[in-house]
């Protein structure tokens, strides 16, 4: 018989009581694990959704002239010498230090073309990137262009030119098929003819050239200005501008959510510790008689404390494991209900280790005073309860 045998036997043979003691820990740990798992999934979801709000970095060639337009209204000052960027150099964007934070790079070429004797703005894009960036693009008819000889028309352009999906067009003398017509967006693309980048470059005589690049980037741990600087270093000939407002609001939404879940976790942990403390205190008071017997048969104060703290350690381990399991189970059930199309991020073993450590620390901390009280119990007082 050793002291630990007493703790083990108590836990093994009084499962009902122990379950009640463990409950406080399980509630605390499982709530924190659930919150962290849900927050993690939500952060990823918010991040993905916010990224769909469009570009937050714009790269244009440097120019000496100031733009003479405001809110889409051009007041003249035609610039015939429009500088352009090199398409081949664009791959360098993916070589910056924070390249993993760059999600979409959408280059464009712009220039005038003649259709049905009318001057129309042509925009050459990489459809795959552009559609991912502009989630608000909806085609009123047809399918997004798949081939080089297909174009998509803005709603206004289609109306003015009197063409519809399936029609053939001569664009500056080159035949094209209208694959789709966009629904009105209220933006510049309503008046444009949109073609695949390569085809547009050839048509405009600007092979390998780019007029502007829209970039969607998101970085939780670093400021967007840092990303902008890194890109600008690679492209000294370009002006790289961050649309700070968009990024700041992204960051704020996520930070607010994280602060909220951190706050809730702290409160839950506090309530959990209080629950463990109260139940441990109750358990020690209930065991006054037992502690009196231990002391009477020659157990030192430290022996009694060892028994109580060893029980707390074991309960902490059990509570941590059960709490982690319950938390993951709850998160697994809760995520699809809270987040549309959300899937549970999976079991994080590091979080498991932290949960068990946290439960043990909590249980030991909450039991320290009750154990001290038990150890210091006057044996004659304790025996008076006999």
């Amino acid at each position: 018989m050793k002291l630990h045998n007493i703790s083990f036997s108590n836990i093994r043979r009084r499962k009902g009581r122990m379950l009640f003691l463990v409950l406080g820990l399980v509630i605390g740990i499982s709530t924190v694990v659930t919150l962290l798992s849900v927050t993690d999934t939500m952060t990823r979801d918010i991040e993905a959704k916010l990224n769909q709000f469009g570009a937050n970095i714009v790269m244009v060639p440097k120019t000496e002239n100031l733009a003479l337009n405001y809110g889409g209204i051009d007041v003249g000052g035609v610039n015939y010498n429009v500088p352009e960027l090199e398409e081949a150099k664009l791959t360098e964007i993916r070589t910056i230090q924070n390249s993993k934070n760059i999600s979409i790079v959408a280059p464009k070429i712009l220039g005038p073309v003649i259709i049905n004797e009318k001057r129309v703005l042509m925009m050459g894009v990489r459809f795959e990137e552009e559609i991912a960036l502009k989630t608000w693009w909806h085609k009123s008819e047809g399918v997004f262009p798949q081939k080089e000889n297909e174009v998509m028309l803005g709603s206004e352009a289609a109306a003015r030119l009197g063409v519809k999906t399936g029609d053939s067009l001569l664009v500056s003398g080159t035949p094209f098929q209208v694959a789709a017509v966009l629904s009105p967006t209220g933006a510049s693309e309503d008046n444009t003819v949109i073609a695949e980048l390569g085809a547009a470059q050839r048509l405009l005589g600007k092979e390998g050239k780019i007029s502007m690049v829209e970039i969607s980037a998101f970085c939780q741990g670093c400021p967007i200005s840092e990303l902008t600087l890194q890109i600008a270093e690679k492209f000294p000939e370009a002006k790289v501008t961050a649309m700070k407002q968009a990024v700041l609001s992204k960051m704020q939404s996520i930070e607010m959510f994280q602060s909220f879940s951190f706050g809730v976790s702290v409160i839950v942990i506090l309530i959990g510790s209080l629950l463990v403390f109260v139940t441990m205190m109750g358990s020690v008071n209930e065991r006054t008689r037992e502690i009196g017997i231990f002391r009477a048969i020659g157990f030192r104060q430290s022996h009694v404390m060892q028994i109580i703290l060893l029980e707390a350690l074991l309960l902490g381990i059990i509570g941590g494991i059960l709490g982690f399991a319950a938390g993951n189970l709850t998160a697994w059930g809760l995520v699809p209900m809270i987040i549309k199309d959300g899937t549970f991020a999976g079991i994080d073993l590091r979080l498991g280790a932290v949960s068990i450590l946290m439960a043990v620390a909590l249980s030991l901390l909450a039991s320290l005073y009750p154990a001290f009280k038990a150890g210091n119990m006057d044996p004659s007082e304790a025996l008076r309860a006999l």
């Binding site: 018989m1 050793k2 002291l3 045998n5 007493i6 036997s9 108590n10 093994r12 043979r13 009084r14 008689r289 037992e290 017997i293 231990f294 002391r295 009477a296 048969i297 020659g298 157990f299 030192r300 104060q301 430290s302 022996h303 044996p379 004659s380 025996l383 006999l386």
Partner: protein
């Protein structure tokens, strides 16, 4: 007092309880001695102070005044932890209402006092099995206390008290909750322990138990009459 060395010497013992304005003198100025291998009953009515006296003799209850020497050792001059070690080595307690640990088996309850002695498991097992056999419970050694009768529980309490082979056995109303036949058996068992050389002190209010003792110390209103 004579010049002979006694196992227990009590000099000018006092114990006063203070509760608010009221003051109760549970033990007043007691002087007596108990020799090695004596069987002594402490007789007295309920509230006479005999249980308080037993707890003081058992190094559990600090007296307000006076001295208790056990084997010439002034037990209340020791620190609390030293007194715990003293109890472990010198004293076997048998409490009123058995006071077994409900979640430990008979064998584990009997081995309990050895948890702080550093004895090896094999030695502990052998010593526990010996005393369990002596109290006649070998067949029930793996049962929990609530699976035993009152008399059997009392036997477990006795086995637990003697497992460490303490020189002094203190019993507080050990037959209080038993029928007269079982009570007689238990007192017989205590008598046989006394014959083996243990000093036995039994607190009781039952005059029938006097027959087993070599000597009776009567306690009345906190005073003793040897």
């Amino acid at each position: 007092m004579t010049g002979v060395k006694h196992l227990i010497e009590v000099h000018g013992l006092k114990k006063t309880y203070q509760s608010g304005d009221s003051r109760v003198e549970a033990v007043r100025n007691m002087d007596f001695f108990i020799d090695d291998a004596e069987f002594v009953t402490l007789m007295g009515r309920s509230g006479s102070g005999k249980s308080t006296l037993l707890s003081i003799l058992g190094a559990l209850n600090h007296p307000t005044g006076g001295k208790v020497l056990v084997d010439s050792l002034d037990i209340y001059a020791l620190t609390a932890e030293q007194r715990a070690d003293f109890r472990s080595e010198y004293i076997g307690f048998i409490f009123q209402s058995f006071q077994l640990i409900p979640y430990l088996t008979v064998l584990e309850n009997v081995k309990l006092p050895m948890a702080v002695t550093g004895r090896k498991k094999k030695v502990q097992d052998r010593m526990a099995e010996d005393v369990i056999e002596r109290v006649g419970l070998t067949a029930k050694s793996l049962r929990l206390p609530d699976q035993l009768s009152g008399g059997e529980q009392e036997r477990v309490a006795i086995a637990r008290a003697i497992v460490n082979k303490p020189p002094l056995i203190l019993a507080d109303e050990p037959t209080g909750n038993l029928d007269s036949k079982t009570a007689g058996d238990i007192m017989g068992l205590l008598k046989s322990l006394n014959s083996d050389g243990h000093t036995v002190i039994v607190v009781t209010h039952n005059p029938d138990m006097e027959a087993y003792a070599g000597r009776t110390i009567r306690v009345r209103d906190g005073e003793c009459f040897v």
